[in-house]
Symmetry: C2
Subunit: 109 residues, 2 copies
């Protein structure tokens, strides 16, 4: 128990849920919004922006990297992060695809 039963769902369902989950934390939302706002690579002043410890930010960055939403490139002694435009677009498309499917009929409730 305690583990999600991924084997009973389709690959697509698991993938979509994973994408949503990656965005399911305010720190990760904030990080992405910051990167979007800066419209450029951003060295890790993210730690200064949010009120979380460096180790915690690093963990959140790793999760965003895991789903491919951000890239990090080593820049001397620090690391620069930016949004992966292609993956960002993919997320957008997949999410739109999910929500577009519902056409409002006359439901009872």
């Amino acid at each position: 128990m305690g583990t999600t039963k991924t084997e009973i769902f389709t690959e697509k369902q698991n993938k979509l849920a994973g994408m949503m989950k990656a965005l399911g934390h305010p720190a990760r939302i904030a990080i992405l919004q910051y990167l979007v706002k800066k419209q450029a690579c951003v060295c890790n002043d993210i730690v200064g922006e949010l009120g979380l410890a460096q180790a915690t930010i690093s963990q959140h960055l790793a999760e965003l990297k895991k789903v491919g939403l951000i890239n990090g490139t080593i820049e001397g002694t620090s690391v620069c992060y930016c949004i992966d435009a292609k993956v960002w677009e993919h997320f957008k498309t997949v999410f739109e695809g999910f929500f577009v499917k519902y056409v409002n009929k006359d439901n009872c409730c």
Copy 2:
């Protein structure tokens, strides 16, 4: 520790993250897809559709209800569920608003 530090984020960031989190599990994705496919109120044959115990499904339904995505109306001895069109539309709009903000410039990474 262990708790998300909601107080350091904006209301909007917390809300958006909460919405994403609600969709961050394949069972909840599957439930919504099923309701969308049926395009109608659906009594709890959802339990038969997915391979999860009744108690577990009930929990997932409760979470979807919590964010308002579905409504449940008592129909005799069973309960009928359907998607809340207004909230569905709201999710769609908010998600689109989040993703639209990124315009691809020439980034370094």
